[in-house]
Symmetry: C2
Amino acid sequence: MSNTKVLPLLESEAPEAVAPCCPPLTERPFTAEEAETAARMFKALGDPVRLRLFSLVASHEGGEACVCDISDVGVSQPTVSHHLKKLKEAGLLTSERRGTWVYYRVEPSVLAAMGKLLTMAPAAA
Amino acid sequence: MSNTKVLPLLESEAPEAVAPCCPPLTERPFTAEEAETAARMFKALGDPVRLRLFSLVASHEGGEACVCDISDVGVSQPTVSHHLKKLKEAGLLTSERRGTWVYYRVEPSVLAAMGKLLTMAPAAA
C-alpha cells in the first residue's frame, strides 16, 4: 500500500537516509519500476539548457543559486525558473525561499546515486 | 577548425583513448557546447524502455547482447532495434554484425565519463 509514485531516492531530506533506487546499470537488467525512476532523472538532465543551469547551481558559491544569480544562459528568467522547477520535480534540486528569492541547491545524494548507476560492476563470475 | 560536432567522448574505438567531454557538473558552469554533448547522452538514458535495454545489454553475459537475446521488455523487436540504434547514436553502445545478428556492447569509457560528470567536486576554497 506504500505510495511508489514518490521518488524513492528522496524519502527524506537527510542525504544519509536516501535509499538508492537501482543497482549499477551493468549489474543486472533493471525492472520496469527501476527504469521508470532512473529514467526520470536522466531525462531531467537530457536538455542542454537544463544541464547548464544544473551545473551552474551545482558549482555556484555556497552550493546554491537563485534565479537572480543566473543571467547568461540565453533564455528568459521565466524559462530559467521553469527549468529549475523541473529539476526540482525530478529530485535533483531542493529549494528554499528566503525573502524575495527561491534558492536552489543540488541534492548530493541523488547525484551520488546517479553516479553509482553508471559505475561498472565488477566482472561477473 | 576541428570538427566539434563529432561526439568528443568517442574520438577512438579504444576505450583508453577517449577524452572526457566535460568536467564534473559541480566544478564549474558548463559551456553551451559541453551541455549539448552531455545532454545528448543523458537524454538517451531518459526513456524507461531504453534504459532497461541498456541495462540488459550492459549486464548480459559477455557484456554484449543482440535483439535475439531480448524478449521480455514488453515492446516489439523492431522497437527494441530502434532503441538500440538510438543508444548507439548517442555513443553509449557500439555494435558489430556477426552472421544474422547485430551484437551490441556498452562503451565503458562513455559510462565512466558520465559517471565522472556526476561526481561531487572537492569543496571549493
